[in-house]
Symmetry: D2
Subunit: 412 residues, 4 copies
């Protein structure tokens, strides 16, 4: 029996390609549609609204399709009340659990709309408390406990797409402005402006980095940015920290493989010895405090009391004592640092960029810099639609960023 | 005060570029050298031998240089006795510990040469027992316990480079034969021969795979190869298994992003729902046994009682209940499956390929197939010198491999 | 003073992203717009129509914007009559000449709509004759002569977007069908179907190839396809033909650079000697006729009386006597072969693919196969919107294509 | 019957991998060898010398092998006299013509060693005059005329490998120095030093550029470098010049495709209109003189009386009136500008970089900068062994280069 629903979407429908993706998804889920009404904005900054009737062969498909469409900001015209089911097994959601987007989300429980605490994609929604004190928050699958009340189906849920993609004056990256300025210089300046804005608004700047930061010689630039207060939190793996420490301990920068633009990472006994040295000290901070470690990015972070979360991967040597070897624990530690982040810069890492994109609300401006176009496109592919990509040399980019943000910075 | 040592190296010095890398390393470690003697083989299959005098400013540098040179198969002419120090802290080696290569290694303890049990790079060497019952084995840094006896310095150690790189008849990949055959067809056949040889010798075939195996449509080919007995062990992450299971559960193959040659991995609620389904079942095997999972690669492995080790990463959703979330535990589980592996094929994954390269002895033939040249070169860069790389489409390659190895295989 | 015009566009506006590109262009040209009416199709196969009022600050800008918008299939609601100006210099168009799209185009001259003979992008439109015998054809800038009558401005011109992008049953490449089939196998089959359709309709199949066809070992597959009648015309450069001939003359296939997936092209004296041999014979055909050349792709083309156009480039050695060394002459020769082409396959060449994309009408189905994603995206970037890209290994792809189209084909 | 020869090679045999390539080539040509003597240098800067006996089944093979080996700097111990044959057809060399390397070459004619005028790879050697007035020069195949005396076989020829690859103090790029400096900053400085050295020695600096110079926003930096005298000659295609002129005429920089790091080149009517404007003016210089063109790179070159050679390709629109449409004529024009070039920088072009590499003597320092590693490796693959590659962002690199070389340069 055919199941039908009316949905609506508001946004820059005409110039964002979003309507196309919505209709694609309806087809992919075996559904059909009629666009019943479409109000087109008359000014560039106006939003358009469309009302679409959609239907599928059965209701389960429809529920899934409705959840899917919410990733694009499509809401039911009449969402009704959320349906809540109690989880019966730790680490397992009820069958028809609502799978979240990373958009600002509200849930209608007992007749009132409750804002979801911490938007994150691919989670479930857990309802706590009642009446005025009802709270709804996202929870990853691995953290659900038996007895928790989990939202199921797509009813009673509304999402809001951030306006940033279009209207932002301070961060209008992808707008194809006709400009006689230098593209790369413009991009550097826009990232600098994004960081300044975040700081001016009392927000934190989150960096996500890979070992390429060290290999491309960008360490002095990044140290200058840490010292100047433009790095509040760093998410990275064992490699960035170890190469940074190795470079500080042994005075060497690994030979750069010019043909491929990246350093040779492995097989160098300095690497394994640096790990052993910090393990002996007990932690990076202990190594700094005892004077064993006296330079580099990690040293600067410790010295300025900045936060970092290092999460391990299966290819790690060591690892450093500060590294989370359990990746789910690592994800929890990363989530715990997201509050108050106002800008996120990802440099030279695919693994940790994707991991951060997974947990970051869509409302936080996000720029990804890498010499490899695949890293940059991967993020957007995976749902971080706010991601802006810059394909460039990480070393030269951070050099210019330091020149822009730290007036007294001089190339070493 | 200058420290001096005589070292020797035997191998295809003239046509492997290895002597060049040895001399580079000597310079990098601040040392100097004189080549005192060089015996050049007269036939293509003959080995050459060089004796080199090397020196550095102090003995610590010399010890490190000697360890470094062993990664190339360079041994001291007169290695003497190994020096052994007792570890005093869990997870920390003594300061001057010997950092291992992945080559066949012998250690001279109490006047006798003892073969190291399980060659693995970037580990320490632990000595157990005495006299006839002396045993030496590699141990990763994180597994060392206070009280263990660890080899320090480079004395008393000899390594042997495998001959495979040159003399192998059955697997002569990189030899630039003049041939009128199709290069790709030749490569497929050589991989097939390598697998057949391993099976004929009673060895296991190890696969290391990424989600690209599923995205490129290679699942039916890989299932055929599992059924035919050419996949004994699979190392992978959460992604390969989840995409495979999602494909089996929902009858969908994710849309292929033609512009980039890989599937769109994320943001698809099927993905997160497939994870929840298997978590509910308790394990992949339980899902197969209960009939929930009835097709795909993981199903084939379970059905044929083949082994797999899935190790998580920080970007994982879920993960599947079978996934090691602790990467160090995951490494241990991978190591435990290496015994009797006679051939290793890596397809479409950089993370797990590098992780496997880290723990694999150099004596095991290793082929890496990826459409991205960076993955292929990365492995060799990191010390897996036996790695042979094939830059090609994974889907078409596995299709051809199945046609070669499984006569009755037909394209679905 | 503001200049205003009403334009309309009909097509799959909602799911093609085309409306977004139209509005982007209006902004880029400093214009503004109001969407006055939009009729949305109710079925997937229905077209939508939009009427848009656009305006700019002056009329010159408006004319240019109107021309620009026609590349997307946007026409004026009331186009009026074409304006014609006489060229006064050879090789130079009048200042405000209409710059063509590659779409089917009609021009209103003396009150009647005349279809343009040979759509090609970035050309001018020349009007010949009068009344019933009026003819309008595209002409590249370098071929215009003083005295020719050239269409100026955007008035009096209508373009039609091919429906193929959406409705084609036989060639539905990019439609993100949910399918359990193997992506690569599906793609091979679709290319095969496209070629069969073209032949069934009495059309020619055009191939555009680079030397990678030879390096990846695809020559036997391509020869089989020539023999079976699936290659009517080949556009290539000096390199493909020379490497093919070198391989036929010397029985060698160049060593394949496994790390980078392509052959080493140069510095091989066989290469230069093969060129000299054919130059001595006088032409490729003469070398075939005299028995000097007895195998390979060029031999197959000559033997089956198929056509080829080889156009040189500044990096060429030799070149072969059949190569057009003047690139403008080469473009003319390529244009002369486009009549009756019904399908175009581009393999392993960026230069000649882009060159062919430049002159190919949008109505001809076009597939581009390359292991390098950049080649595939470049074509679409440059205006060949009908281009479908397949990122894969050329050798294995042509192998599978030959297996699909030539039942008796066997791998050598 | 086996043909045998003794050859010798002097150079940094141990650390350059060259001996390995020599032995590979011997095998590839079906030959065999014995290394009879090898003298290894004792200091890092010392050269080594090897004497090798080589043999093949017949003499023709041996002659070809000897020619092939000369590309690596291998000479016969006893080269004897050159053999000279008269060409009997225009554009065709005698069958067994000597195919040149790009190394410094001497030919023994009538008992005396004559230096070859203009080393270029893949040419023939033409002998003119007699006795004291004997002259030998390279000639490309297409320029040979009947009656010319051409060197055949490998006898009587000696080549010399430039020392630059190793000993150069001023340009020690690939030496894997242990350095705590920033790799990218070091590379910029080394290129700057190379240019300064060339100018100090009264030599010209040759640039080879692609349109990426404009797209990445590097035009102001390059203009500053032209103004400061660091660009003496520019080799490019129609695209660089047209995009530069378009940018100057229309005040636009093409939208940068951030996902792929390069601009959208085509389909923009500004592009075709810029071409028409310069064609109307008659030449770039005429457009500068008449004030039509008043900015950009081409304007700067014209204003400072610098030289440029623009050579067309089959994908060109227009082209500009200054463009050589005949690629062989273009090659001749490029050759004519090589005299006195002392440094060559290639940026963001594969086609013209390879074309220039083909004609450049190995003695000229050559640096290739591109964000695409393939471009960088292609050059070395094709025989430009002196090429140094830098994989980086062209825009940021030229920005830094201008800052280094032009003290008063400020980012616009």
């Amino acid at each position: 029996m055919t199941s039908t629903e009316h949905v609506e979407i508001t946004g820059h429908l005409m110039d964002s390609g979003i309507l196309s993706r919505v209709l694609d998804d309806i087809r992919q889920y075996g559904g059909d549609w009629v666009i019943e009404r479409i109000d087109v904005g008359h000014e560039a900054s106006d939003m358009s609204t469309a009302t679409i009737k959609i239907w599928t062969d059965d209701d389960d498909d429809l529920q899934r399709l409705l959840m899917r469409l919410q990733t694009h900001g499509v809401n039911m015209v009449d969402p009704g009340e959320a349906s809540v089911t109690v989880a019966d097994t730790d680490g397992v959601f009820p069958d028809e659990f609502y799978s979240t987007t990373n958009l600002e989300t509200r849930v209608r429980v007992d007749g009132r709309w409750v804002a979801v605490d911490n938007p994150e994609m691919d989670c479930g929604l857990v309802v706590e408390g009642e009446g005025d004190r009802t709270r709804v928050y996202t929870l990853p699958m691995s953290d659900v406990k038996a007895g928790m009340r989990v939202v199921c189906g797509a009813a009673g849920i509304k999402v809001t797409v951030p306006e940033v993609a279009k209207s932002s004056e301070s961060f209008g990256f992808m707008e194809s402005d006709v400009s006689s300025e230098k593209p790369q210089a413009v991009l550097v300046r826009q990232v600098a402006d994004g960081m300044r804005d975040a700081k001016d608004n009392g927000k934190k700047v989150l960096w996500v980095g890979g070992p390429g930061v060290v290999h491309t010689g960008a360490s002095p630039a990044m140290v200058a940015l840490v010292n100047a207060g433009f790095v509040d939190v760093l998410f990275a793996g064992n490699a960035l920290a170890t190469h940074d420490i190795e470079s500080a301990l042994y005075g060497t920068s690994l030979g750069v493989d010019l043909a491929h633009g990246r350093g040779v990472e492995h097989g160098h006994e300095h690497h394994i010895r640096a790990l052993n040295t910090i393990r002996k000290a007990g932690s990076i901070k202990a190594a700094v405090d005892s004077g064993v470690l006296s330079g580099g990015i990690m040293h600067a972070l410790v010295t300025h009391d900045k936060e970092f979360v290092l999460v391990g991967s299966v290819r790690d040597d060591g690892p450093l004592p500060d590294v989370y070897t359990d990746v789910i624990d690592g994800q929890r530690a990363m989530r715990a640092k997201l509050a108050d982040v106002g800008f996120c810069l990802m440099v030279a890492t695919m693994l940790h960029s994707v991991a951060t994109g997974n947990i970051l609300p869509a409302s936080i401006p996000l720029v990804c810099v890498d010499i490899n176009p695949a890293t940059v496109t991967k993020l957007a592919d995976r749902g971080s639609s706010q991601a802006r990509g810059i394909v460039t040399d990480v070393g030269l980019f951070l050099e210019q960023l330091a020149q822009e943000l730290v007036p007294e910075y001089r190339r070493p």
